[in-house]
């Protein structure tokens, strides 16, 4: 080997074959991911679609799909808004102790999901909850809101908690992207007489478009697959008004209804597959960029 060897050797140079090195992790992935998905498919086929038919026949199946959509949209949009606001805030030169505030903002994201959900369940309690009391004191509401027992409110209430948990991730990602914007672009915009809002709209947003894409994709996958927050806070109730697909699957699992579990799982894989496709494309670009 000489100093002219390419940075990444193209041929084997002794030691175990690279495939052998990747095999343990790949086999584990196969056992934990591929075989389960395969067995799900096999079951749906072996049932001759009976599980799928039953799933579509569930009286509130439409509601579950609508809930999943509303929950996902609300979670993603909420986390984006708060995350962007936080990221811009942490760039402000008027701010002191930025590092400390930034760490504090991470807290909802790093604490266990069960803890977050439990704490919010208590905070949102109709009679004993601090939120209702604060809103009553401020005169925002005239009587306590039944956050987790009013079918019209519950989905937004649980989505609020998902936003609380995931917004720090957006702050983190967007902050990193903002730090990478070259000074010249701002200078150019200023010379053209752009105000703060125009700078944000015409310089900042376009520059962090890729990051935004990754973030939206990630948030959507998180929301679509989310189980803990809703289960701990409402178990999907009242009367199914906060039931999304993962909750439906878990309830079928608890009832020992294996064909229904397989049917819902297949639907989740199909929806997840669309996101996985875009995710894989982003990852592939990333792999190419770095190798």
């Amino acid at each position: 080997m000489t100093a002219l060897t390419p940075a990444v050797p193209r041929r084997r140079t002794g030691g175990p074959h690279p495939v052998a090195l990747m095999l343990p992790a790949a086999l584990l992935t196969a056992v934990l991911m591929v075989i389960p998905i395969g067995s799900t498919l096999v079951r749906v086929v072996a049932d001759r679609g009976e599980g799928l038919a039953r799933m579509l026949d569930i009286p509130n199946f439409g509601t579950v799909m609508l809930n999943t959509l509303v929950w996902t949209l609300a979670s993603v949009v909420g986390a984006l808004l708060i995350g962007y606001a936080g990221a811009v805030l942490f760039q402000s030169k008027s701010l002191r102790l930025t590092g400390m505030w930034r760490s504090l903002v991470m807290v909802p994201w790093i604490i266990p999901g069960v803890v977050g959900a439990t704490v919010w369940r208590w905070t949102l309690s109709t009679d004993y909850g601090v939120l209702n009391q604060a809103l009553l004191d401020l005169g925002v509401i005239a009587e306590p809101v039944r956050w987790l027992s009013d079918p019209d409110v519950v989905l937004i209430a649980v989505a609020l908690v998902q936003v609380w948990v995931t917004a720090p991730f957006v702050v983190l990602m967007v902050s990193a992207a903002l730090a990478g914007i070259p000074e010249e672009r701002y200078e150019a915009a200023r010379l053209d007489g752009a105000g703060s809002w125009q700078v944000f709209w015409y310089v900042v947003l376009p520059a962090i478009r890729t990051t935004t894409g990754i973030v939206v994709l990630t948030l959507a996958i998180w929301a679509l697959n989310s189980f803990t927050i809703i289960w701990v806070m409402t178990s999907g109730g009242p009367a199914g008004s906060s039931t999304i697909l993962p909750i439906l699957l878990y309830q079928a699992f608890q009832n020992g209804d294996q064909s229904l579990v397989a049917a819902v799982a297949l639907l989740q894989v199909a929806i997840g597959g669309v996101f996985a496709f875009f995710f894989a494309r982003t990852m592939r670009t990333d792999l190419e960029d770095q190798s």
């Binding site: 704490v119 996985a276 592939r284």
Partner: protein, 280 residues
């Protein structure tokens, strides 16, 4: 480029108002958790609700540590977390190293295969995983839970390790090879020591993922012998008469180690997490 240009987007009072709103939103539930945990029972269910305790008491913490299965659950969580962290590091160092250092025909498919483990919804593998763990006679054991948690940690940590190895100049390894060392020597004398801090952080990250996990742990355990802390916490809250004071004290107990670990390892986490963290 000393002052960040975007620093001009927000100035003066607006900054502090926005900060106050953001901090209230972020920390109010945490404050509720901490203050409720120090309240006496009658204080907890007082109407109108108050944030601060009228008298401070440690009785909720006493309940958690002496009259609940939480101590056993915390121990179980530690056992599971350590198993997960060790197994994850072994699997992921091997795979991450290969991804960073070799180019071969099946590299990209294999890498994507491992990384795509990240986007498979956990509920989808719930039933087959349950059947597998049952068949292996590992139901209600910490080993069974740890096995399930690898589904979460391996795809994530492989990515972290790959980035860490890729950041080490290959010339360092080549220097060992030129001196007649094998690739194994190069890895053990150069690569491993150089990324040791990163690997420790990756191990901690795997531990924390396991510490958080609820769905698999609750399905794969049936008794307090193997039940982890998050599952035990939800049991506090599903009893008919919910003891919210003790529940909040237990929540604090579950949170404190995490916050300490995060503060200590923040530097490593931030890079690792933004590098490919996609799991619900």
């Amino acid at each position: 480029m000393s002052a960040r240009p975007t620093r001009r987007l927000l100035t003066g009072t607006g900054t502090w108002v926005l900060l106050a709103v953001l901090m209230t939103w972020t920390l109010a539930p945490i404050a509720v958790m901490v203050f409720t945990s120090f309240k006496a029972r009658e204080d907890v269910f007082q109407v109108p609700a108050r944030l601060l305790p009228s008298t401070w008491t440690l009785e909720n913490y006493a309940t958690v540590f002496t009259a609940s299965t939480m101590p056993q659950a915390l121990l179980n969580s530690v056992v599971v977390g350590v198993l997960v962290a060790l197994a994850t590091l072994v699997f992921c160092f091997s795979a991450g190293y290969a991804m960073a250092r070799f180019r071969f025909r099946s590299a990209r498919p294999l890498a994507l295969f491992i990384l795509l483990g990240q986007v498979v919804p956990l509920t989808v593998i719930l039933l087959p995983l349950y059947q597998m763990v049952t068949a292996a006679n590992l139901l209600d054991s910490t080993t069974g839970v740890a096995f399930a948690h690898l589904a979460i940690t391996v795809p994530l940590v492989t990515w972290m390790v790959r980035n860490q190895v890729a950041a080490i100049p290959i010339e360092l390894e080549e220097a060992v090879r030129i001196d007649g060392g094998s690739r194994f020597d190069a890895v053990s004398y150069v690569t491993l020591p150089v990324c040791a801090p990163g690997l420790v952080a990756a191990g901690m990250f795997a531990f924390l993922q396991s510490w958080h996990e609820f769905l698999f742990a609750s399905v794969l355990t049936t008794s307090s012998d193997a039940r982890t802390a998050p599952v035990t916490l939800t049991e506090f809250a599903t009893e008919f008469d919910v003891d919210w004071g003790a529940t909040m004290a237990a929540s604090v107990v579950l949170t404190v180690p995490i916050v300490i670990a995060f503060v200590a390892l923040q530097r490593y986490f931030v890079g690792g997490l933004t590098g490919g963290a996609v799991k619900g």
